[in-house]
């Protein structure tokens, strides 16, 4: 399968990329790792007149310590997120979720920021980033703009990134010492999540002091399981207490029905997977 012809530019800096983007008009796509965009272009579901390749912009790749947070470049590959030592120490949830994305080859090419901007409801990174309350840093013609994760994901494949803007970095607060787990349900290897649950817990003594839980593929955007978080706060760290809290997992969700399962089945999965994720995050 061969994509439609397009003009190609590979700028070396964000400033140059913004200029190209401003000049390109409406019919333009930014190319990150290409692991979602290129298949879509090969199917000719997308046929942009111009493609701007961000792969030559060194400042967009890598993980940096930024005080109480980590600053992750949008072009950092999944494989690096899954294996980076700073992320392993301060944000193990991201490492665990990134390690489940697609397959090793795709994780070598696909990027953290690219997957977040793609905003597939079944993608594995939006829910952990939402649970962690990350901030998205966007560069645009008028300068830099910051958007919280709760406002970033707006619908199916739709984010707060406006025309003319580029996601440059994701600033994720550190959750050092928190237990974390990403529980993903698929029927076969290398499949998109049917449902998945991202869980982080802070344990004090025998009690769950705080919990943060994000759900993958339970709506057109990732959603926080706030009722479960509230039920877990202050709860004893026992399987029974976690199971009781997990009953609320599907509250406020709006899952789709498709060939992999109907909405009722997804609600059931959300409860089961939340229980498993929190138990694993708590180290029980």
């Amino acid at each position: 399968m061969i994509p439609s012809a397009f003009d190609y530019a590979a700028p070396a800096t964000v400033a140059e990329a913004l200029d190209l983007l401003a000049a390109a008009g409406d019919d333009v796509k930014l190319l990150a790792g290409g692991q979602s965009l290129i298949p879509v272009m090969k199917l000719r579901l997308a046929d942009p007149a111009m493609v701007i390749d961000l792969g030559r912009i060194g400042e967009l790749s890598g993980v940096r310590d930024d005080g109480d947070a980590l600053l992750i470049g949008a072009m950092t590959p999944h494989h690096q997120v899954a294996t980076d030592s700073l992320i392993a120490t301060h944000l193990p949830l991201l490492a665990k979720a990134a390690a489940t994305v697609a397959d090793p080859q795709v994780r070598h090419r696909g990027t953290f920021g690219g997957a977040l901007v793609h905003a597939d409801p079944a993608g594995d990174l939006p829910a952990p980033v939402l649970a962690a309350d990350a901030t998205f840093i966007l560069a645009g013609p008028a300068g830099e703009r910051r958007v919280g994760a709760a406002d970033f994901f707006q619908g199916y494949f739709t984010t707060a990134v406006a025309d003319g803007e580029i996601l440059t970095h994701i600033r994720v607060p550190k959750y050092t010492g928190w237990g974390a787990h990403y529980e993903k349900f698929t029927r076969v290897a290398q499949q998109w999540s049917i449902v998945a649950v991202a869980a982080m817990v802070r344990v004090e003594g025998g009690t769950i002091a705080e919990a943060r839980i994000g759900l993958t593929n339970m709506a057109s955007t990732p959603v926080r399981a706030t009722a479960v978080e509230q039920a877990l706060a202050g709860a004893p760290m026992t399987r029974d207490a976690i199971a009781a809290a997990s009953v609320h997992a599907a509250e406020g969700t709006d899952p789709a029905s498709d060939l992999n399962g109907d909405a009722a089945y997804r609600r059931h999965l959300a409860e089961v997977l939340t229980r498993r994720a929190v138990i694993a995050a708590a180290g029980l």
Partner: protein
């Protein structure tokens, strides 16, 4: 219409400079421009892994990358693994373990296995299976494929039987 772009890519230790259309996929460049037909196109949808090559030493699916993205980079294909006419240990292991039936997935399997072993020289059986999750064998010959990778990780593949076999494979 889109213009062509000049790229310089090192493929299997040889530097090539070519004008390519931006939409040319890396796998098409390798096969149709350079004649490196050892890299196969399977599903053409990022699923099967038959087109796996190394970009700067790590595995990628060459059906899901434009040739222009490889400009200035180093690509290794299955044709670049053997040295001095002698099969690489993984190639030898696939031969000894009979890790193929129809053989269509083999170049991709070997390239992904090489990337896996570079990142994790002593994987468990489960780690081998997870490491090959992006490579499909429709003959379902996974048992022997895993055994072949394992024999290289364990160092039990023979190291001197390669030369006589290369002629028939190359």
């Amino acid at each position: 219409m889109a213009s062509s772009t000049t790229i310089t890519v090192e493929v299997d230790d040889v530097s090539y400079t070519d004008d390519v259309e931006p939409r040319l996929l890396l796998v098409q460049y390798l096969r149709e421009r350079l004649g490196k037909t050892g890299t196969l196109i399977g599903c053409d949808t990022t699923n099967c892994g038959a087109c796996t090559v190394h970009l700067d030493g790590v595995s990628v699916k060459s059906c899901t990358m434009f040739a222009v993205q490889a400009d200035g980079h180093r690509v290794t294909t299955i044709e670049g693994l053997a040295e001095d006419g002698k099969l690489a240990p993984l190639q030898q292991a696939f031969h000894e373990c009979h890790a193929l039936q129809c053989g269509y997935c083999t170049p991709g399997m070997i390239m992904q296995s090489a990337s896996l072993l570079a990142e994790n020289p002593h994987p468990s059986e489960q780690e081998i299976r997870d490491g090959l999750e992006g490579n499909l064998c429709r003959c379902t010959g996974y048992q022997n494929i895993v055994a072949a990778v394992r024999s290289v990780a364990d160092g039990t593949v023979s190291s001197n039987a390669g030369e006589a076999e290369t002629a028939g494979v190359a």
